[in-house]
Amino acid sequence: MVKKTLEIYSVELSGTKDIDQTDKGDGKEKYRGLKNCFEPKKNHQKEELKKELDLDDHKLSIKELEKKYGTNIITGLSSTQAAELLAQNGPNALTPPKETPEIIKFLKQMVGGFSILLWIGAILCWIAYGIQYSMNKSSSLDNAYLGCVLALVVILTGIFAYYQEAKSTNIMATFNKMIPQQALVIRDSEKKTIPAEQLVVGDIVEIKGGDRIPADIRLLSVQGCKVDNSSLTGESEPQARSSEFTHDNALETKNIGFYSTTCLEGTATGMVINTGDRTIIGQIASLASGVGNEKTPIAIEIEHFVHIVGGVAISIGILFFIIAVSLKYHVLDSIIFLIGIIVANVPEGLLATVTVTLSLTAKRMAKKNCLVKNLEAVETLGSTSVICSDKTGTLTQNRMTVAHLWFDNQIFIADTSEDHSNQVFDQSSGTWASLSKIITLCNRAEFRPGQESVPIMKRVVVGDASETALLKFSEVILGDVMEIRKRNHKVAEIPFNSTNKFQLSIHKTDDPNDKRFLLVMKGAPERILEKCSTIMVNGQEQPLDKSTAEAFHTAYMELGGLGERVLGFCHLYLPADEFPESYSFDVDTMNFPTSNLCFVGLLSMIDPPRSTVPDAVTKCRSAGIKVIMVTGDHPITAKAIAKSVGIISANSETVEDIAKRLHIAVEQVNKRDAKAVVVTGTELKDMSPEQLDELLTNYSEIVFARTSPQQKLIIVEGCQRQNAVVAVTGDGVNDSPALKKADIGIAMGIAGSDAAKNAADMVLLDDNFASIVTGVEEGRLIFDNLKKTIAYTLTKNIAELCPFLIYIIVGLPLPIGTITILFIDLGTDIIPSIALAYEKAESDIMNRKPRHKKKDRLVNQQLAIYSYLHIGLMQAVGAFVVYFTVYAQEGFKPSILADLRVEWENGNVNDLEDSYGQQWTWYQRKYLEWTGYTAFFVGIMVQQIADVLIRKTRRNSIFQQGLFRNKVIWLGIASQIIIALILSYGLGSVTALNFTMLRPQYWFVAVPYAILIWVYDEVRKLFIRLYPGSWWDKNMYY
């Protein structure tokens, strides 16, 4: 077998730089393809999918099909025909999307963010060195070194970012897995096994249970074939297939088998009607990769921040370049000042810090069952303002459960929580005894053996959903069901079918004195009632009169109105004389009565909401997040679940509700009165975008029912037009475009198809809506904490910048070197800034509205001003005091330092006098200068300790927050001190690093300033708390 290495197909995931992929599909003419001919033109794909899939081969007869594809269902295509078609249409495989080459991704990291500024700095360094070298061959290598260091910094942070992105961009070869390897095809009247890739349109293929369908096929003959379409449509139940045309919609008709879905049982023969990218799944796949990836909110924020800092750096740099030149500095020197200013201004370590912070949160979220694939999505979740959630499995437990019972003219509630532990309804009535017997006996579902130790609700059951529900329900209440069934031996049985709409079985009773057979029956309530003449009330049979029938109907409607699936139960003890023990029951001739039975009760089942969901929805609400339910389910069920989880709150009404309450026609109701609305897919189909916008703005509680997965995309886009940050959950392949389009796509970990997981930014490991809410909480926290981190990081930039400015203007010996700055930015400051990510929330962040994308910036004016002009300046002052102290104690008082720069730096002046008349050689001065660097460095470091402490909170006092609750902060502070100690005492002798051993006392000079910073910030916070909304609050709260 020739087996080509299959190219990895993957949906390209957004990285940080996935900017240019804005979608261009909009505004172009709508594509109306020829029927049955999908041309994968990128620009039109979106339109294609938004309208329902356009395929009509299912409507054609076999003859027409044969004609259309030039084939014959008996002999198949000829090999030559097939070869021609293969050459014409290409192989039956999905073309992988154009992937950005890794090297491009890597280079993008190298020039993104601050990197470009640092590259400029490095290049300027080398130019400066080149000029120096050309003028004086023995010039010092300092500038060349600095250039290399800068380049190294850029490359290292680039590699780090690239690595992080590559790690999180989990490129899965998912679609590849779905491609069937082999296909059984009829060609030249022979059955042949060929690689599925070589299939062409018109081929006749045979499939059997367990196969993956090799292409889109029109089924020609079918023997008991069922397929699993869940990866395509999200329906988890096996779908029967037949050769008849049953539905206009290609997705719903039974005579089409879809590429990559699985045939579960039976066999079928079909004609290939679409191959490769033209298959339904191929279109969805290419669409998913075609849907533009919006920039994540945090990417926008960081870009905004980079713009601000970059702008400040460049403008100050250029301003001081001009000043330096006009102060008659050498141009070369001015360039070096410019480099210093750029380096001082750019927080080199910040982007790496942000990445680490995000991945820490991602890890934390993974523990809470939110697996984040795209790091930036961590924060996106926090700014989410709309969640479009699936119902089944996400909001609900995804299993039918008995919710209500009706017997003795009363409705009882069954416990629908995850473990069923608390069944409190009245079980003393005789009716319940009978009912429970029917439930137990009239049931074909069985537990898989060997699960005794497994909790009942988690056991695997063979049987359909309703029977499973009943089995588990009775097992919980009655105990060993299998044992009961054994005692009541089954003698005959009619399984459920859609014409009868009931299921019946006849048993011997377990009462040895009672020789009667028990006939038990369950089914559609109205059918069951028809067959009954009596009804059991309180264990006593009573004739079924009008009033009891009325009561039955009321209860039936009541339960039906809750969106529940209702079943009726009845029984009959067959008289022993007519049906002796030896009586042979024949289910075909029905030699036993099936009317005049005794009606026992109703049982209704629903896929109940997960118990954590209502709380989660409440939390979402208080957090200002709108939860929209999008489901393929029936509107009644959808609304019932929406109500029970709080998506439609208890006191809000839909237009229909109001109409009913006021007894008026729906059209007469003022639409403004309704808060909630249930929209069906069909209604949605007819809506214009404007109408949808109106719907989305006017109603706060929205349920979309009976929607196709494609319509999700429309809903998502509608929400995004309202400037909302939209989170979407999804599991099917069909959801993947919506998942990609959404600001954050959330795939289901258990139920989700690989394609959905691939397209999503996040995977919910437990499929639980509540996990999203924890995710939101983490996302909001990380936004707050990133603010703190950035404020912390920005502060010292002023302390690093001021030395250069003063150096240029006043002519002091340089207080801090460029390399020393890099040691702060990439050394001492890194761990404390990451530690801020561990900070707990100051107040209940889930009581806040989601941040406004355009107003609540990560870096706002207040943050920049407070960091730069308040704390930053205080730090600069403190660090200068350390610097002056060192110089003064060594002999250079501040008065003499002014304007000393030229002589100080002149290597030929080796007897420069200090304030005491002592004379210094050039190298002695240089060493003193490095001591100054170290002192300034230590000064900044000490004050950064205070800075990291004050950044713990933005509003509360540190003491309210707890000084020791975040232990990582202290780890950060310890690391700061240790790194500084190592730099000064360990590496103090390495001249290239410009550190010296600093006298111990200088480490404490800046401490009063650190305390001052702390006190100042406490005062700031105090006033903010005391006078909310005041001028102070507005200007000082960041």
Binding site: L562, H634, D914, Y916, P1028
Partner: protein, 360 residues
Amino acid sequence: MRRQLRSRRAPASPYGYRYRLDDQDEANQNYLADEEEEAEEEARVMVVPDLEEEEEEEGQEEEEEEIEEEKEEEEGQGPPTGNAWWQKLQTVSEYLWDPEKRMSLARTGQSWSLILVIYFFFYASLAAVITLCMYTLFLTISPYMPTFTERVKPPGVMIRPFAHSLNFNFNVSEPDTWQHYVISLNGFLQGYNDSLQEEMNVDCPPGQYFIQDGDEDEDKKACQFKRSFLKNCSGLEDPTFGYSTGQPCILLKMNRIVGFRPELGDPVKVSCKVQRGDENDIRSINYYPESASFDLRYYPYYGKLTHVNYTSPLVAMHFTDVVKNQAVPVQCQLKGKGIINDVINDRFVGRVIFTLNIET
């Protein structure tokens, strides 16, 4: 938990395709709804006051901020057309000065003055703090004696004449090439004129430290170092310091360090030799004073403030016979106890290296 379900009119079939849902009675509100409402109310309490007040007071400012944001947004977006540029320019100019609201940079005059006042006070107090700190710093620092002198020890060495370079290139027959050395030396030695020294300084006994006990702030006397000590290199007999004959004088001085005393009472000596190459390139050097050393009486130095007239002692090297017409690298080192003259990084500690290239 028992939920009371009440009957009501309902459609004929609950599974009908037309859905119609019953409104829930108030009695039917479940616990969830109540909780939710409470939570909502809490949220309102938490959030609303801030927002409202802010809006009331800052309405205008916010609007302006929005404009600013929009401006930034625009910057981030696609290729701006000419019209967009114009609009952008307008928003910027409006941001700078908005005549309608009489605002500049999104603040009204009142707001600006408040800001300025607050920042004035903030920075004034910051300035006060730094002044206070510097003041206390000076209180702890003696004006007479530096706190630490390790960095400036061991002493560096410098030579005269010094004209931006340590390469002495001159042509004996062309006075222009060496005249500036002579001028430099002359100028340097003005302070050593015998008359001046005799007038200002005392003649203290040689061979011992000139220790002056007493209060720190007392003026200290300085020992005489007369120009005439330098004999042939004093410029008194040969005003060209030997340059005109190709026998240049170079003066060497040791950097001043407060409190520095040569150890063990041995004066520091100077010795010069060829640094690299043939040692015989320099056949003879005369040192003045003949001891080629710095006499102990010039130590210790008490600092600029009290030791006003201190004149650094000198040693003159008279290169009387040096190979001509080639560059001769010369290294002059200090020799003595506690003197370091081989620091790799610092070529001026305890030694000085220069080249002589005398052309004839």
